[in-house]
Symmetry: C2
Subunit: 353 residues, 2 copies
Amino acid sequence: MVYLCCMQDPSTTRTEIGQLGEFGLIDRLTQPFHNQHSSTVKGVGDDAAVLDTGGDQFSLVSTDMLIEGIHFDLMYMPLKHLGYKAVVVNLSDIYAMNGTPTQITVSIGISNRFSVEGLEEIYAGIQLACDTYGVDLIGGDTTSSNKGLILSITAIGTVDKDKVVYRSGAKVGDLICITGDLGAAYLGLQILEREKQLYLDQPDIQPDLEDQQYLIGRQLKPEARKDMIAAFANNNLKPTSMIDISDGLASELFHLGKQSGVGAFLEESGIPVNQDAKMMAMKFKLDPTTCALSGGEDYELLFTIDPKDVDRVRFLPDIYIAGEIVPAEDGFTLHTTGGKRHQLKAQGWNHFS
Amino acid sequence: MVYLCCMQDPSTTRTEIGQLGEFGLIDRLTQPFHNQHSSTVKGVGDDAAVLDTGGDQFSLVSTDMLIEGIHFDLMYMPLKHLGYKAVVVNLSDIYAMNGTPTQITVSIGISNRFSVEGLEEIYAGIQLACDTYGVDLIGGDTTSSNKGLILSITAIGTVDKDKVVYRSGAKVGDLICITGDLGAAYLGLQILEREKQLYLDQPDIQPDLEDQQYLIGRQLKPEARKDMIAAFANNNLKPTSMIDISDGLASELFHLGKQSGVGAFLEESGIPVNQDAKMMAMKFKLDPTTCALSGGEDYELLFTIDPKDVDRVRFLPDIYIAGEIVPAEDGFTLHTTGGKRHQLKAQGWNHFS
């Protein structure tokens, strides 16, 4: 029963984590688990878990871990922005269930490289997000780390039982909708990374952020689409399926399709890309549509609606109809502005590759 | 609004985290926050947060982060045990509210040093804990880390509204009770650390674990006191205050006292220390009572009862009456078996010192 290091059994087979990818890995690790509680309405596999705690509404639970050097770089991410963003990305998952976030817990691991004042900056950002989105900080854990900063946040929310929207509800013929615009956060990251490299090479050169406040702001201080959930409620619109766009449009569309058992036909002309983002993409010799499909961190919403609801969407600002749900056997197709058809590839972030 | 590294404002004052200690730091960071939701019954400051989600019961939420090299050492902690322990320490916080855990989320950060098979070992431990304690795994996050293993778990539970027990309910004259025995986990750790050092010095020597299965088991595979919460319910006993003993008896007693606005008079003769632990303490030239007061990781329950309930406790197995709650101005006193009185010092773990 008890081992020392020498006795940590080296498995006869060794599968590298990168072979499975993040989602394959999660599937493999969680597959042996089976839910026992009737209060567990939806466990692993959506933006948030759904619990029936006995009231009129379901409770929603979502969690994310952010690690320095993987998810953020303190060379250009101010601590206050980091605190803000860490909360927002979690709240985005609650909104993606058509819910309202109400509480968060924040666990933080820090090395002694950080001062109390630095930590207070992070918490000032957390508090700003709590105030902006109307959530309470209800707990957490504070511990030391050997190296680097780790933030783990759990968001809790509520949703009326008849209003909850899963990834799995998309039907053939439903319209694919996207809020806001995509690709800007990715291009903001490219600018910051370029300036970081230049700074490391020549520390006396002033960074050239090219007045790209919008792109950089989308990367450093994203917002979650609380306003869209309110707009849905005001217009009696219930999407048939929904997911937030954290990893890039293509990856999220594959998640929706997989959970719903359908495919998708996407019009390139319908994918909203901000004008600044388009210009910057070309400057970086990148295809703007590819930035939208694979960039990630936009925290917009991807959802589907029944075609009968199209008028409820058509006159709402900041929502774009970008395609249609098709049978699973038709797969995932991008219809380009040039009239060509491409098979889409799920190309979200793969931290493990 | 946007900075690069060079512009990360170096604060004019720098307070080291170690100056405040873990609990002083949490107080300082969370003090500016104010709850806005009526559903937040109890936020920061107890073993778990308490939420009123509209049903007959309160929801409980607790979270913990475990970092390799700080909270565990993979030189002697088997991966399956690690998964098990990471869950159990969170469930213990739910039991400490007199509640029943129902769900957990698990976020994990791993470097590519780990194989899929290694991760499966961790999840096998997580699953064993889920099965043993009857909780569902409902979500989480899986990401890479640059170095080391990070586990962040959030436990969710329920408690009847009239049964919830806070740290803040202890009254002068209440009896102080302790479940199980204390100090064993700490002595198990001492054995493992000693053998690790010997192994590092001379890798060909076999570790001498001295058949101390109990002590080592208490360190590597602790259990939470689910049985005690059931015993309370069966005997219609509601403690007046409760906390789990994760950091050592003295530290937890100070938490109870601070939250309840009282002091404590502790009888050394009433502190349960296992016989093996006593023997091993002497071998390490440690005082057994000090191991119980400051050792930590026992995950037993410390609670107080109204003296009228003493008969409900007296005949329950594995509960020890170890003292009495006194007015705050009388402070925290240890009455030794030798008849002396010592002022107690809160001496939990200080990761930051």
